[in-house]
Amino acid sequence: MSLQTFTNEVLPLKDKLYRFALRIVKDSPEAEDIVQEIMIKVWDKREDWSSWSSLEAMCMTMTRNLAIDRTRSKHRKVTDLPEGYDMVADSATPEQAASSKDMMNHIRHIIDQLPEKQKSIIQLRDVEGYTYKEIAELLEIPLSQVKVGVHRARLFLKNELIKSSEYGRS
């Protein structure tokens, strides 16, 4: 019974959890470890599932907490990362691929400069498409803080993008 729920509702979340963990720890194998560990934790807590308002929200919250924990325990340096660690291979020509990859790395670099909470908010809203209410529940913060976070993060991104286009990077 619970195995079925797990297979149908928890396992399909793995990519979403992975993307969320990756945004925080910025290391692919580490993010994968986190997801695997969360899956085990969630499975071990299967008796509590009925008391959780949303299985998905709980998985996301647990993933975030573990990811933050990992970055703290390792004092991970946040800037020195192999470029393109969360890239999807695409694009028609090698030139296009190279310039688009460069641009994507640039954007990721800007997002990485955001405080952790704003980064999580942007990931949840602009990448995953969660509602503000869901984000508030998931991050365990008031709705007003989510709204302020979205606004501040987007403004920062906007200004950085304008700055880079003024430096001839567009």
């Binding site: 195995l3 797990f6 297979t7 396992l11 793995k14 990519d15 992975y18 993307r19 990756l22 692919s28 993010a31 994968e32 997801v35 695997q36 560990e37 899956m39 085990i40 499975w43 071990d44 969360d86 890239m87 999807v88 695409d90 688009s100 641009m103 994507m104 640039h106 954007i107 990721r108 997002i111 990931q123 809203r125 602009d126 990448v127 995953e128 498409g129 509602t131 709204k147 979205v150 606004h151 987007r154 403004l155 991104l157 906007k158 993008l161 304008i162 880079s164 286009s165 567009s170």
Partner: protein, 156 residues
């Protein structure tokens, strides 16, 4: 007309006031090839979101096996940590043991004198020797100082 609408949506977007539906509209606008020049600087951001959405985890997740009694899975990391600690202990034990057996005879403690008197004499001899050397040192220093005397006078 379209640009005007996009500008309005973008302004709302930066403020954090857009709905999810409006944000989807913005994403599809920026994914199109008709992005107006004034919005071009923002185009990579929406392309990034679009791309980031499709990132997938490569590693397979091990699904739990329905075990009777719900056996707990032990984290491999912990096991490795414990094994490493034990290995270090064993290594330290052996190194310690070996270094003791290899210790040269001269450092090992054993009795050298038969009676306290004999030991006392030996200690006295050693101390006298040291004291003689020290006196010699003091004399040498005094001679050196005497040589400095003319200099001292000149300076004063």
């Amino acid at each position: 007309m379209e640009d005007h609408k996009i500008k309005g949506l973008l302004d709302k977007y930066w403020e954090g006031e857009t709905t999810l539906e409006e944000e989807r509209e913005l994403k599809s606008y920026f994914a199109s090839s008709q992005v107006a020049d004034e919005f071009l600087p923002f185009s990579p951001l929406f392309a990034f979101y679009e791309e980031a959405q499709h990132v997938e985890m490569q590693r397979e997740i091990k699904a739990p096996t329905p075990v009777s009694g719900g056996g707990k899975t032990v984290n491999l990391r912990w096991l490795i940590n414990i094994a490493a600690s034990i290995a270090i202990f064993i290594a330290m034990f052996y190194i310690n043991k070996n270094s003791k057996s290899n210790m040269p005879e001269q450092y090992a403690y054993h009795d050298t004198y038969q009676s306290p008197e004999e030991a006392y004499d030996e200690v006295k001899k050693v101390l006298l020797f040291v004291s003689a050397k020290m006196n010699k040192g003091v004399n040498t220093a005094a001679k050196g100082l005497e040589k400095m005397e003319p200099l001292h006078e000149i300076l004063n």
